[in-house]
Amino acid sequence: MEDILLKQMWAAYDKKLEKSLALNHRLVTEIQTQKARTALRPLKAIKIVAVILGIIWSLFLSILVVLAITYMTPYSLFFILSAMAVIVITVTAIVVYIRQVALIQQIDNDSNILDTQKKLVRLQLSTISIVRILMLSAPFYTTFYFNKGMFENGTIGLWVFQLTITLLFSALSIWFYQHARIENADKRWFKIIFGSSEWTALTKAQHFLQEIEAYEKE
């Protein structure tokens, strides 16, 4: 198939389409009244709600920490340290969320194709980082309730059970933070944790990003 033939064939197709296509002006006018609608709007709205909830949660914990410090006892130290750790982790996740919202703002379909597609794919892939960060707070939910009663009346059995749980959560959250990366998306555990549809979407996104990067280098 010669180059010129391909173009001739396409030009003939074009000519036929020009004659046979008709634009429905009423529907275009209808679309023009929907300027506020955007494909990314729901995504952005979800992230904004998540940021607001995160801020409310952090403020609530901060108030509890201030109260605990005001009425400080040696046993409230566990609550204060645990709550502060959760606050720091939640605020970090909020910052990442805000960066994602900023990234959504930057996505512009009238930019060149490779730039736009890279931004879209990176946005999709960055959802993992939020889960990784938030998982780090898991062990602190197993320590904030340590109290005077547990220290004074707790049996060895209770403490063995409690420490096992805390160590298990700590090990799991550190392991998850280190391993839940898109590079491991082909692993079975990753698929189980993230669910098959999310897993498929993320692996596809990762492959597409690799394809774009290779495309730029070729």
Binding site: Y13, S20, N24, V28, R37, A39, N109, L114, A201
Partner: protein, 165 residues
Amino acid sequence: MAPPKEDKVFLSVIEQHKGIIYKIANSYCHHTEDRKDLIQEIIFQLWRSFDRYNDQYKYSTWLYRIALNVAISFYRKDSQRNSAHELTADIIVVTEETADVEQLQLLQRFIHELPELDRAIMLLYLEEKSYKEIADILGLTETNIATKINRIKGKLKTKFSTIHT
């Protein structure tokens, strides 16, 4: 609400370029319903960006960028996309069937089989866009575009020759 003049200019731009929109949608979606959704989404995104249109570029360059970006994203989302479209009728209607030339059908099939970025390049090449314009739309260098076009043409020739042998 945009001023009526802007509305009319937009309508005339879409009228002039409806063929491009249809061909892009057709290359990224084979199913009629998907194609209808994609055309709606492209026109909606064009309208959203219309007040930011930079007249240092041709309307066609602006339109190709948006239409191809929307088509590639739409194609990638595949069945995951939410059907947020209220309109049920076709925006661009084919009033008579285009002649089903076998060679053209083959060309369309082969284009559809290309990876999404190669497909965008091939569409622009067949639309007689210059290497510079293709490079602007894709965000690559002209040399890179030239290399890729040669490679894609090679692939298409091989496919055609396989069919004819």
